[in-house]
């Protein structure tokens, strides 16, 4: 390829697990690097530049500084990709959005609460246009590789809009409900190859909800399997509070 795409990587409010998951492509990393030029990545290098073709962004937006920086990234890039639940949904950080923010800050810092500004945790798409997304917590590696390959080849990536249960059944896993556990697979967007149920653990809903998810039906199942109404809602909210309760501005 004559012109390698120039790639930049950014992190906002998150745990950097998604970025780390990228460094964990040890077998593919050198191949990936042969197809692109990484021009900016604070976690791994010193350089800072003025424009790039593709920006990969991890983390949710939760301070005034984040909002300013994401506008800058959007201006400098051609294609913007959100990586992981924090960037795509607001993620686990968004749990604080349904608690009065003053209270949350006071609990942590007491009278020093005004030292450190904070906003509700928002997905990137609440502030700028996002072209593609990779879901998961941490971002799903197979999905990232597929998207990456499609972008480098100039193809349109495909994304599934069906439940994790479908992938789980295809893998012939024992359903964790059979073991007396609960699971959010029935309402969660596929694309992870039912990774958690394949290791005997329940799906926590980290990839977000499928379109038209039947939330009332899901809550009913959870309650039938022993959770209180409040607990059932809490399990669903873990990653999906912005979607279930509406993004709070």
């Amino acid at each position: 390829m004559a012109n390698k795409p120039r790639v930049a990587i950014f992190d906002f409010t998150g745990c950097e697990g998604c970025e780390l998951n990228k460094l964990n492509f040890e077998n593919e990393l050198l191949d990936i690097l042969a197809h692109v030029d990484i021009v900016e990545w604070r976690e791994a290098m010193d350089d800072r530049v003025d424009e790039y073709d593709i920006a990969f962004v991890e983390g949710s937006l939760s301070t005034p500084d984040c909002i300013e920086r994401i506008h800058e990234v959007r201006r400098k890039c051609k294609v913007l990709v959100s990586l992981g639940s924090c960037a795509t949904l607001g993620g686990i950080n968004a749990m604080k959005n349904i608690q009065p923010i003053e209270e949350v800050r006071e609990e942590v810092y007491g009278e020093d609460k005004y030292l450190f500004p904070t906003l509700p945790a928002l997905p990137l798409s609440a502030v700028v246009k996002v072209d593609y997304e990779v879901r998961g917590c941490p971002m799903t590696q197979i999905e990232f590789l597929k998207l990456f390959t499609a972008l480098v080849r100039g193809q349109e990536p495909v994304k599934p809009d069906y439940a994790v249960c479908i992938e789980c059944k295809l893998k012939e896993n024992e359903c964790v409900y059979e073991k007396g556990m609960i699971c959010l697979g029935p309402v969660t967007m596929a694309g992870c190859d039912a990774h958690c149920p394949s290791f005997g653990q329940y799906c926590t809903g980290c990839r977000g909800l499928v379109t038209d998810a039947n939330i009332a039906g899901m809550e009913e199942i959870l309650v039938k399997h022993g959770l209180s109404v409040d607990e059932a809602r809490k399990r669903l909210q873990l990653y999906n509070v912005n979607q279930l309760e509406g993004v709070q501005k």
Binding site: F12, T13, G14, C15, E16, G17, C18, E19, L20, N21, L23, N24, E26, N27, L29, L30, L33, I38, W41, R42, E43, A44, M45, D46, D47, S62, T63, D65, C66, G91, I92, N93, M95, K96, Q99, V104, R105, E107, V108, Y109, G110, D112, L115, F116, T118, A121, C137, P138, H195, C196, S198, F199, G200, Q201, T204, D230, E231, K234, R235, L238
Partner: protein, 434 residues
């Protein structure tokens, strides 16, 4: 000699999370030398409040991706202590293997990808792919194998899946463990020995700077303490992990969204160097040899040597993993279900060593097994005051050097601690009782 010095490094690179270095000297008087933490707070208490004990480790794992296994272990130990859940010998051995894998991966990542570029005077690891390809390929191979340990036993290296209160949701097969052992013996051990040679060749670039301080880590009579042990200080000896608040004393400071800690002095250090200073007698022979070759001696108080201590530990983790796999296979793997029947509801502590140092979680549960109180003290938070104290001694000592050289030394200093800023702004020190 410059008597005025003004350094500001915004969003320091090659560390986890966002921090600034600020140094101010006027007419020979040092007014300020500190690491400012500007990472956005994430308010984990809001996520944990009222949640079931099944979810605690899933949530606290997300405090930090790179330390996710360590957070899970501390979290599970705290939950099991609070709920009176006994775990089996097999569970403990599998957790130790996961801990070794995570320590290996993190120490290798830091030494090769984040610290080594400074020793070679380049801005990142990427130029090294062209100039030192065999070293980069070796580093990637070691990291891959360390992550394989997490993938096989934990289901995933970042935010592992299978570790739950009371045990594991899936037990690895004997074949999987044998394959890990084969790779550890055939690939990791030779790669470790080569790493020691590489680091020995670079060690000349490590700044000569010393500051006497207090070192705190876990210590155990049985082994080089990582998974479990008592809290040990070079100043005052060992205490039980339930006494952790006495050894941390968290407090808010204005220049950092992460709290600072102190024990017997104004600051203390945790991490690989602290563990080495407290526990070097428990290292395996290959790791002891490596320490000698790399000029690392017990009682070392050069913080830059933390990177070297990480390399030494990598060797110990690799060889001890082989020993643990042998024991597990000899005992025969049992398909155990996790023990999740609480025998009490109360408060529990989990203390464990994560790559960056000692980590504490403390939880209180109500009678329904829901979280009412949580506290979590992170290694990087514990190191922040020590980093500030190092800077205050370093700047006047090296004031003859140029501003650029001093800035580089300060950046290298902060990187040597391998700080995890995402972790340190977790913000979890709260009572939920209304």
């Amino acid at each position: 000699m410059s008597t005025n010095l003004d350094i500001k490094v915004k969003h320091l690179t090659r560390v986890e999370g966002h921090g600034n270095i600020v140094v101010n000297m006027k007419e020979g008087v040092l007014e300020k030398a500190q690491l400012e933490i500007v990472e956005a707070p994430r308010y984990f208490e809001a996520m944990l409040k009222g949640r079931s004990f099944h979810e605690a480790a899933i949530v606290t794992s997300r405090i930090c991706g790179i330390c996710s296994l360590g957070h899970q272990i501390a979290s599970l130990k705290a939950t099991e202590d609070a709920l009176g859940l006994e775990v089996s010998w097999q569970t403990i051995q599998l957790r130790k293997l996961l801990t070794h894998g995570a320590t290996l991966q993190s120490n290798i990542l830091h030494a090769y990808f984040l610290a080594a570029p400074d020793f070679l005077n380049v801005g990142s690891v990427f130029p090294l792919i062209g100039t030192h390809p065999e070293v980069v390929v070796r580093a990637l191979r070691m990291k891959r194998l360390a992550n394989d340990m997490g993938d096989v036993i934990g289901g995933r290296a970042v935010h592992p899946i299978t570790c739950v209160p009371g045990g594991f949701t899936r037990i690895p097969t004997a074949e999987e463990l044998l394959e890990l052992k084969r790779k550890l013996v055939e690939e990791m051990v030779p790669d470790f020995l080569a790493t020691v040679d590489t680091m020995a060749a670079l060690a000349g670039a490590i700044p000569q700077f010393e500051r006497e301080t207090e070192f705190i880590s876990l210590r155990s009579d049985d082994e080089y303490a990582l998974y479990d042990g008592d809290i040990c200080s070079t100043d005052t000896g060992t205490v039980d992990d339930h006494e952790y608040r006495k050894m941390t004393n968290e407090h808010v400071v204005t220049h950092s969204s992460s709290k600072h800690c102190k024990a017997n002095r104004s600051s203390y250090m945790v991490g690989a160097l602290a563990r080495f200073n407290n526990n070097h007698d428990k290292l395996c022979d290959a790791a002891k040899d490596a320490a000698e070759k790399l000029g690392l001696k017990p009682g070392c108080c050069n913080p830059y040597m933390n990177t070297i201590a990480q390399v030494v530990e990598a060797g110990h983790c690799a060889l001890d993993s082989v020993a643990i796999i042998d024991q597990l296979l000899e005992a025969g793997l049992k398909d155990e279900q996790p023990n999740q029947e609480p025998t009490r509801f109360g408060t529990g502590i989990g203390a464990t060593e994560v790559p960056r140092g000692i980590l504490y979680h403390e939880y209180t549960y109500d009678r329904q097994g829901r979280m009412v109180k949580a506290n979590c003290i992170i290694p990087t938070g514990q190191n922040l005051a020590n980093i500030d104290d190092d800077m205050k001694k370093l700047v006047p000592e090296f004031i003859e050097k140029s501003k650029e050289e001093i800035t580089l030394m300060l950046e290298m200093l902060v990187r040597a601690y391998d700080p995890c800023i995402s972790c340190s702004v977790h913000m979890l020190d709260v009572d939920f009782i209304e």
